[in-house]
Amino acid sequence: MFGRLSWSAIPFDQPIALITSLVLIVVILGVLGLVTARGWWPYLWREWITTVDHKRIGIMYCLLGVVMLIRGFADAIMMRSQQAIAINAPGYLTPEHYNQIFSAHGTIMIFFAAMPLVIGFMNFVTPLQLGVRDVAFPTLNSVSFWLTASGALLVNVSLFIGEFARTGWLPYPPLSETAYSPGVGVDYYLWAVQISGIGTLMTGINFVTTVLKMRCPGMSYFRMPMFCWTTLASSLIIVAVFPILTATLAMLSLDRFFGFHYFTNTAGGNPMMFMNLIWAWGHPEVYILVLPAFGIFSEIFSTFSGKPLFGYRSMVAATLFICVVSMMTWLHHFFTMGSGPAVNTAFGISTSVIAVGTGVKIYNWIFTMYGGRVRLGVPMLWSLGFIFTFVIGGMTGVLLAVPPADFLVHNSMFLVAHFHNVIVGGVVFALFAGLDYWFPKAFGFRLHEGWGKAAFWFAFFGFWITFTPLYILGMEGMTRRLQHVNVEAWRPMLDLSLLGVGVLVVGVICQVIMLLVSIIKRDELRDTTGDPWDGRSLEWATPSPAPFFNFAVMPNVEGEEAYWGIKLRAIESQQLSPEPDYQPIEMPVNSPVGFYTAFFASVTGFALIWQIWWLAGLGLAAAFAGFVVFAWRDVSEFHVPVEEVARVDRARRAAREALLERLAQQGALP
């Protein structure tokens, strides 16, 4: 009846897992209870759960990403403290539990923290920058989000019911085959990632179409802001490589469920085929994450230097170069496979060559600042910290790209330090920078600067204190994923690394305080003009927070840096452009289909994990029924009346006129 599911799936014998899950359940029940008691459900359902507004979906993606970032960080604290304690000692985590923690840490950080945050920014920013009112497929966008959330749910359910994979964040066979991992851990991994991966694939399709086919009049390719280019490049990689992930996970599932022999080490299966397939997805994946991060930095460097981005066209070329070459380097993840010198050399060279594209970008950012009026706001601090951190991470990467050197530090703590150096320094710094930069556009008030700066400095030094010792430990021969070590000489470095985690924790606390202080002082921090940073692209042409239809009248772009041109004209003529002729706006209606799909995806995923076949069949049948019902809807769009459009836009124009007058009185106008 319930497949493999029984009471023994609940970890009564593991106090840490049990207490964490109980606390989580209490918190979730508390939140649900509060929402019910206050009667917030209709609001939540109408405005958030069924929304197809790209900005709201973007905000929900970011919220999911931040929550999972904290969950993944908790895993990190446990790993670093376990290793600092378990020197010639057992520590406080059993090997089974420790293996689950490092697997969950990687899986959560990449799939459910970094990806949702990056996609959240793509969602929130791209249509605004392109001057359009929504993405190409708004309802599909909602489905994508809810599928990602459903994957995240399954990962968290594994904490309380059953177990998570013990195989690392990429379940290498033959360890991940049924013979060696008979439990449900790997199945939780497979279905959580499979479901969220389908969501990501649909996001990729959505954004390729959006950037290529949905731009406001006059927005030709070479007038698009850099972030839109990186969204395009990242989405292209998603479309090209996420199907590989889907296929690979499906093959491993077939191996596990039905005894197929794709990756077994018996009956002609080929485990190394898994490494090739998974890294053919996995290496481009890091560029999916880091390219939009580069886009965020490009926007910030140019805005906070008061200059156009230096070398815009070379930046575009470098982005697309990385987009293509990212798919030609995957074998450097297993130089030790034994492919021979010729193959290893080819991939070593392609790996080094990709650094050239990144180098072009770094110089462009530095030259953007050169001769500019640099303002050291919080987003700019993260960006400067990024250049320093990322350059060092990139150089250790080039070192690892040399096969003979890689043979020495393969799978060591050096590697761990390297990829945290680029992913934390590249992606996470960008996400915090972007959070500070676009927060006013989302919520109408800026974040508190003092606490933001404190958060940056603690995170920056915390990062370096944590990971520099790991470089050294790697050089001394410490391999990754050790539950305990028996080399007394490593103790100082492991302690230092734990201290770094402590500094990072202070940084996280600063971020939380920043958020709370900003909410309390939101009236002082209010962004009345919609353009808090003296921005250059079209999202700053809208009020803050942006109305759900984004633009009352679709902008007409006449040059690069669309909004900067409009702003300069207004300042030169000391007046706004004449009031446009307002028209009713057609917008897509809300749809519960995303939530519905995710609900049945979660049920089906859970049923497949525990092999409750009837429930899986029921879930799939319900999904098909949902598809038919959705196809039958009659109304897919509604019209925003002219009066509403005019009211919102006149308020925006009044704020802009007040700003112009204030500037004129200050004598700031020509």
């Binding site: 359009v132 190409a136 497929f137 694939l201 990729g204 399709i205 959505n206 390729v208 179409t209 290529l212 086919k213 949905m214 731009r215 406001c216 009049p217 006059g218 927005m219 030709s220 390719y221 007038r223 479309v239 090209a240 490589v241 996420f242 199907p243 590989i244 889907t246 296929a247 690979t248 093959m251 077939l254 039905f258 005894g259 197929f260 022999h261 794709y262 077994t264 009956a267 002609g268 299966g269 080929n270 085929m273 397939l277 679709m554 098909f624 598809f627 038919v628 196809a631 039958w632 897919s636």
Partner: protein, 231 residues
């Protein structure tokens, strides 16, 4: 739009040929930029262009997924672990029939869209039905092949080669099955709601999908079956 008895009238064909959006005409021709094509100068593309374009991108990703299964087949085709080889399990007459049914279904699928362009509900439904029946025949023959192989103890659990064989061919069969379910819902929509704008968009996507599955089958027919027999 007038009802036309035969879908393949000159009028209908002309309408198919004249793409109002002039896709692929980068210079925009003498008339200047075309509104709705999604080029930089003219603003967002029309709904029809956006839907078709997005679906092409999806097809691209689907074909990449198939390419992974093709790649595993290429790697594992020699790993028979002492079991049967491709030459020992292929029955060319049956595969020939399967191929014929699928190729013919692509032709009737194209005819159904010509009928859609002529706004002929009757002929659209007739040709969609024929397409569906041919697809069903294809799936039935494939299923029969799998069952007869399993009866001889030839299952994916036997060897790496058989795993990759059943995986690749089965994935295509699954696609055709799902496409058949989609086809059934499309026929119901055309019948009950007529040629509304979004239903025509969905018919465009369905046609693209059906033809793409045909193209993938040609790859399977060549690489798995023809090359398997000759190897």
């Amino acid at each position: 739009m007038s009802q036309v008895d035969l879908p393949a009238t000159i009028d209908a064909i002309r309408r198919v040929r004249e793409d109002p959006h002039r896709l692929g005409h980068r210079g925009h021709g003498p008339e200047g930029p075309v509104v709705g094509a999604g080029h930089g100068r003219t603003g967002p593309a029309s709904k029809r262009i956006v839907v078709g374009y997005g679906f092409w991108i999806f097809l691209l990703s689907d074909i990449i997924m198939f390419s992974c299964f093709f790649a595993t087949f290429a790697v594992l085709r020699g790993s028979t672990a002492g079991g049967p080889t491709a030459a020992q399990i292929v029955e060319m007459p049956r595969v020939g029939l399967e191929t014929g049914a699928l190729l013919l279904s692509s032709y009737t699928c194209g005819l159904s869209f010509a009928a859609t362009n002529a706004r002929s509900k009757l002929w659209t439904q007739v040709f969609l039905l024929v397409t569906g029946l041919l697809g069903l025949a294809f799936v039935a023959m494939e299923l029969q092949e799998f069952i007869s192989l399993a009866g001889r103890g030839i299952t994916p659990q036997r060897s790496g080669f058989l795993t990759s064989f059943f995986g690749l061919v089965g994935l295509h069969g699954l696609h055709v099955t799902v496409a058949g379910m989609w086809l059934a819902t499309m026929m119901a929509q055309v019948q009950l709601k007529g040629f509304r704008r979004e239903i025509i968009h969905r018919l465009i996507c369905f046609n693209l999908f059906w033809h793409a599955l045909d193209i993938v089958w040609i790859g399977i027919f060549t690489i798995v079956y023809l090359m398997g027999v000759t190897a």
